[in-house]
């Protein structure tokens, strides 16, 4: 990964796909919207405009107002910000955890491997959503950071399995064997020689994990178990507007549209990255691995 040539080649192969370019553009727009948007609008997500209840979009309220007169644009921007932050943090944490666990299990083998893989199996048996929904009420009073930790803790297992497999084959390679014989410590071997070889996989996986985390978070918030009022996320906004989707469509379709656009963009970029990093795919040849966005909640 360190060589500039490879990085540039990957970049070139990534941006050559029209889907990836579109995805990147959409992501940039969404990030700008989420972090610059609050300064553009005179309203904040908690402000109530009593003169405008259930107003369709107009010049004063760009995306209309909701049932109690809150500005939908301000709310959507705030919710998008929260969802993006949660998605990014969860992806970083869960991929990091997966790398550590997978590399340790694969490199040390024996009982370490057996115990860690038993934990992975155990956590895979229970649908993550189930555990999340049981544990979430306890986190209600804590900040949303606790929610990030919980989501990260439940999304690393499949990736860890893949990293373990890669590490097992890397362990037998000569440069690793030589390093071991020279007396390099295992931690250093893992950090310097093993993990860089899984980096391309991890980067791709982290990208796809962002989409998965956002989906899980909105799902939890939809059931009222995730982000708590007065704070909002895309999930809570969609949940609130569900029963009036046909009467006041602007309350439902703006958050839903942004959510779908974000997940779609992230997955497009992640899929293109995966194809570009996969040495088995030459330019223009079909990807040999399946490009499937993964998500805790479908």
């Amino acid at each position: 990964m360190r060589a500039g040539g490879r990085g540039r080649a990957v970049l070139r192969r990534t941006v050559r796909r029209p889907g990836a370019l579109c995805g990147l553009a959409v992501l940039l727009v969404l990030f700008a919207l989420a972090f610059v948007g609050p300064y553009l609008s005179p309203w904040t997500h908690t402000d109530v405009d009593y003169t405008a209840l259930r107003q369709p979009p107009d010049a004063r309220h760009w995306m209309g107002t909701n049932r109690i007169g809150q500005d939908v644009f301000a709310q959507v921007v705030r919710g998008l910000q929260k969802s993006l932050l949660i998605g990014l943090l969860v992806a970083v944490f869960s991929t990091g955890l997966a790398a550590v666990v997978g590399a340790c299990a694969g490199y040390f083998g024996g009982w370490t491997d057996r115990v860690l893989m038993f934990v992975v199996d155990l956590m895979l048996v229970l649908p993550a959503f189930l555990v999340l929904s049981v544990a979430a009420p306890r986190l209600r009073d804590r900040s949303w950071i606790a929610l990030v930790g919980l989501l990260a803790l439940l999304g690393w297992m499949v990736t860890a399995r893949a990293v373990r497999g890669m590490t097992r084959s890397l362990r037998e390679r000569q440069f690793v064997v030589v390093a071991r014989l020279m007396g390099v410590s295992p931690v250093r071997i893992l950090w310097r020689h093993v993990l860089p070889h899984t980096a391309s996989f991890l980067i791709t996986d982290a990208t796809l994990a962002v989409g998965a985390a956002v989906i899980s978070e909105t799902g939890l918030s939809y059931f009222g178990l995730g982000v708590q009022p007065p704070d909002v996320s895309l999930g809570t906004l969609i949940a609130d507007a569900t029963d009036v989707a046909l009467v006041y469509p602007w309350m439902f379709f703006f958050p839903t549209g942004l959510l779908i656009a974000f997940v779609l963009a992230v997955n497009l970029v992640g899929g293109a990255l995966r194809d570009a990093l996969d040495p088995k795919t030459a330019d223009g040849v079909a990807p040999s691995r399946a490009t499937v966005p993964s998500g805790v909640s479908g």
Binding site: F118, V125, P127, S133, P137, I215
Partner: protein
Amino acid sequence: MLSLILRRLVHCTILFLTSVVLTYALASTALDPRAYFEGRQPPPPARVVDAELARLGMDDRAPLPERFAHWAGRALHGDLGPTIDGESVNAEFGRRVGVSVRLLLIGTVVGTAVGVLAGMWGAVRHGRPGDRILTVFSFAVLCVPTFVLALLLKTGALAVNRAAGSQVVLYTGEHTPGLQGDWTVQLRDTAAHLLLPAICVALPAIASYSRYQRAATLDVLGADHLRTARAKGLTPGRALLRHGLRISLVPVSVFFAYGMLTLFTGAVFTEAVFGWPGMGSWLVDSVQKGDVNSVVAVNIFAAAVVLLAGLLADVLHALLDPRVRQP
């Protein structure tokens, strides 16, 4: 083959028992049944709440191991304890399990069958408009969270009904309450209610299975033995079915166990949105009430379904790939 299944069975049983212990511990520490009683109007005296919690075996003052031992002792005899409202968890389980199994079964069967067929079709038509449309479609479906998909379907049904001026598409419940008529009327009614939830559960499954099957088939299409089959005179379709399908199903069978996890989660959302009295909506209700025993019961069901899917995937894998069968 038999020893492989036996070994997996032992592994699964250990996993199952560990997961039951863990979920009981998690549910009893995370949920707060006391708040459910204290939140009533008018609030009952503390003594009454204590007595009620003790009767249900959810008393948070008793140590956790003691509560678990009490629960497990009954569970071993097939009694999963009372719900927070004092009814039997077993009875509620029996009422709801059929609803969920119906949804999961349809999702699995339709999802795998249509998904595998669509994936093979996409691989054969690789790069042509049909394949492109399939790819875009499955990608779009996978990027829509299940609850949004369910909501969109429901909104669409509402719009259709409003345009038609009558109930053309049904979208709440799993049958019409108090419907009179013989079994054909009942069956038609149930099928009509099943339509939208079934689409909602099956669509994501179709989308993901078709992606995996497409990639696996593309890998096989270039293989030497398939070229040999063609050279010996088989038509492309026959060659693919006789010599390609079996190999391409191997990676998909590995995915089957994970697929069940996603399917189960999808069913939770589908049941909640369409108002089906299944395990998923039970979970959501019981978490909100702090009903420990019911939550554990749903967990047991989920773990059993997922492990069964894993076992089935292992057997399928062994059947498809003779190398796995050798000890």
